[in-house]
Point group: C2
Chain length 364, copies 2
Amino acid sequence: MSIDESDIPALARGCAILGTGGGGDVRTGSLAAVRAIRAYGEVPLVELADLPGDALVVPLSGIGAPTVGHEMIHGEDEPKRVAEEVERLFGRPPSAIMSSEIGGSNGVGPVAWAARLGVPLLDADGMGRAFPEVQMVSMYVAGLPADLVIMSDIVGNVVTIRPIDGLWSERLARAVCVAAGSHALMADYVLTAGRARGAVIEGTVTRALGIGRATEGAADPLGALQDRLGAVRLITGKLTDVDRRTTGGFVRGTATIEGTGDERGRRLTVELQNENLVAVEDGAVRAGVRAGVRAMVPDLITIVDTETAAAVQTESLRYGQRVSVLAWPCDPLWRTPKGLETAGPRAFGYDLDYVPVEELTAHG
Amino acid sequence: MSIDESDIPALARGCAILGTGGGGDVRTGSLAAVRAIRAYGEVPLVELADLPGDALVVPLSGIGAPTVGHEMIHGEDEPKRVAEEVERLFGRPPSAIMSSEIGGSNGVGPVAWAARLGVPLLDADGMGRAFPEVQMVSMYVAGLPADLVIMSDIVGNVVTIRPIDGLWSERLARAVCVAAGSHALMADYVLTAGRARGAVIEGTVTRALGIGRATEGAADPLGALQDRLGAVRLITGKLTDVDRRTTGGFVRGTATIEGTGDERGRRLTVELQNENLVAVEDGAVRAGVRAGVRAMVPDLITIVDTETAAAVQTESLRYGQRVSVLAWPCDPLWRTPKGLETAGPRAFGYDLDYVPVEELTAHG
């Protein structure tokens, strides 16, 4: 199959839901995708099994603070510069582009990047959601060496990092990103299709499209979305407090939702770092105390408009919005010991043992 | 000729004088040079004319705040990692190492790096002195494209930057340097011997050795040094005030010297940013007012111990030291319009038109 202009709105809605508040503003990625498809034609969507084992897959993502990415006009030559560097280093051009993170703008942007390069998009990504740090990808969890990062910024600089590990990869890429104006296009874990098997999360472009289409024309969009995701509804109410600041290339903060209607008197706080990380009822997360915690990273927590079921991204949170909070299980990869070490609650500074959302909400 | 262990003290003294206070602590470079020569043997010193036109010359320097470089134990594998990256990108290994800046530790360190790699050292550098920013090199002034920077840090990360210009080269390299612990080894303007002609300052290793030897056993070391450099003595006195802080990978500050003996009542202030930049008598530099300015960058200003004529580096400035301040002309390359635009007083934020030290001190 191919992705054409008519698929972009559904893809964008699905990617916003999977973005758990982050991954960049999907409007930015959508505009870029529509513009590129009009100029270069539709983008073939391929499965890993369709590619020869030695085909080069280039995982791409925008890196930077969403509030900055949102406002910057993206250059159009970044994908070309990354592809040129890939060809210089590997002696052959990319066979396919992959989204590093399906959540948010980074799930839609790769359609534009693939269109510009004239290569197919792989139906897979490295997260099955969005995460704020570059080492938080399935390739890292699968034990692939984080031996090469290629970055291209809007002014035309290209930076190649050969880090000793994933944490240095994050530290150096973030420093380059901040120096380059807090936004850049990044290729991380360039790999062959052969090595990608078992190291990427397959089918996630198709899944995002399906999520986006689930609410189209639905009488009860919130219910339709919940069914599609297999999600628990944590609260329905009103956004009463948003505390959000941009520091060191990240957006950090909290969003507080107070219950309305039948749920009057309840209060849920969502803690976020680009993405929504922890949802806790009646209070803040305290060291080691998980009383009140209803869901935690790497499980997915998304704030949606109660009426339309559209995701509300971190940068669009506003006092008084009528919202519901949904939570659902992450890909099993993230529940392995290496997965939790990489992107569990402690990786974000929370002194909490991970408990799956199904258990946390079973008696809720 | 070759550089052996017995040459290192003189080379270090000369490089410290040419460092105008900066370029890193020469003791660090000296220790590394002695250790590497003992392990790998003496280092051939070659002239540009000795190399075939297509021989690869790799200009190397340490980048970072001197106060940090001073205290960090340097890794020994950085030169090897840079050379491997050069070979990966150019398809052949380096034929010679060149010091990017002859001033300070960066003039002595390349002896160690060349010894470890088993390649000759080129008798040339990119500054004829020391400068704080990476675009302030003769290759940039000569119009060579700043198209590649290779950095290797102490933990083993390798970063390659393809910047759009010299200023972006500086901005990105500095960001990587700070993220990597404020110190890294850097190859900038990897070039063939053919392209190096007219784009590097030749003979500066020999010059540094000659400066270092001028004071050996001299009855009047200060006079001998002054003669060798063709330098003017701006003041002899006592260090009465040192204001120094490390921010964003740089050391910035001022040093004030009050005259003693015949010069009692006089006061000279040296403004510095890693290196000594402006010497002004009786007052601070005010916008556009050069009254009292006795020497300014790119001319060289070095504070020396009055008795031994050894250079006092920025990080060693101490209240009460008996010092003299010498100033002498820079290489003619720095007095061209492009040279002054790159490293003249305005490049450092001083609202001053450049006037050669010979003119500023002719009526002093």
